[in-house]
Symmetry: C2
Subunit: 218 residues, 2 copies
């Protein structure tokens, strides 16, 4: 009998949002939107473009890093061991990602796609969406699953030990700071897979490799 | 006694080059360079921007994918198991990368940095460079090492079996096509770590995880 495994992954507090109202008129935001032929409120917050505008936003060090999502999705969506994939955003949206989706490799194209998703609610707009914003909350996603948070203060374990059907593995997709209270209230089982602080893409890489190791590196 | 390991990685035939002479006057190349306030010959070839200009270049499907390098370097340079890191480019340049380097996470900033490197030969220009183009050939790099090519037609093995001191692991950093004859003439030991064709970042992820597994996931 062949060993097989499918896991669910949810990227948590993901640093993905449209430019918030407070700063839509800031010169750096307007200038960058105009360059791309867009209105400021149609563009995604990105600290590498909007640093000066963002400095006074609450919680700004946790925001404006859509590159983290890009990097992690590029790894996740090339593997065949995914059952369900979700993105939970910093403002509590839940996005369902179809495991057959292949995100644009080019960062600017990825940003364009995510802008479309945040504005229209789904991409592509017609037929079966590859990504869509669900009308649910984090609470609804964890129901009936075994939610596990990967966190530096968790109990030390190995990635391969986490690779089990019905595990919903939560991985932070933000730069710095703590998980939100919403995340903490539904993910109380915490594990750590390293003796040091890892970046999101390293966490994803280790987890996927843990599964692939169990499967004999398919 | 603690088990320890350091490996050398070389990214091979990496899809990184400045816009070649044949297409510096193509409208799409000029337009994209102008947008960034640069001369066309100072910009990096990128298929997501220059597709229409590139179509008639020889070997064009293997070129213009600096995002592959970005993605793999972001994974490699967060790990502590690297001894030497090299980038061998599609036009046979050899770039030494300091393991303490942290590449810009933002793609456009990464491109700006690589443009500087290709034009000036090193970054930063003063003091100890974090990346520099060496005046050597691939032949010189493999000397005294055990060069191993990761290739889909290689002998099947596991990533952890490859993680040995003195192994120089060669990984293709291009989209499609075969390794160059230069690469094939110095890397004749070939291994495969999957039953299917992997993307460069997946190969890197598996290899690093193989080492991290041996080390008890540090």
């Amino acid at each position: 009998m062949q060993f097989s495994v499918k896991i669910d992954i949810i990227l948590l507090d993901s640093s993905l949002e449209l430019v918030p109202k407070e700063i839509v008129n800031h010169p750096s935001v307007v200038k960058n939107a105009m360059k791309r032929g867009k209105r400021p409120e149609q563009t995604i917050l990105d600290i590498s473009l909007h640093y000066s505008a963002m400095k006074n936003l609450p919680n700004f060090r946790k925001r404006g890093r859509p590159d983290i999502l890009h990097q992690t999705l590029l790894l996740i969506l090339e593997e065949k061991i995914m059952d369900e994939i979700y993105i939970h955003t910093i403002d509590s949206k839940i996005i369902r990602v179809d495991p057959s989706m292949r995100p644009p490799k080019n960062y600017d194209r990825f940003i364009g796609l995510m802008e479309k998703l945040l504005i229209e609610g789904r991409v592509p707009k017609e037929n079966n969406p590859l990504m869509e914003i669900l009308n649910v909350k984090l609470e609804d996603i964890v129901k009936g699953k075994n939610p596990i948070l990967l966190s530096e203060d968790g109990k030390r374990t190995s990635p391969e030990a986490l690779c089990k059907d019905n595990n919903l593995i939560g991985i932070g997709a933000f730069q710095s700071g703590d998980f939100s209270s919403e995340v903490k209230s539904y993910f109380y089982e915490r594990y750590s897979i390293s003796s040091r602080v890892l970046e999101a893409q390293q966490v994803v890489c280790r987890l996927l490799s843990g599964c692939n190791y169990l499967l004999g590196w398919p």
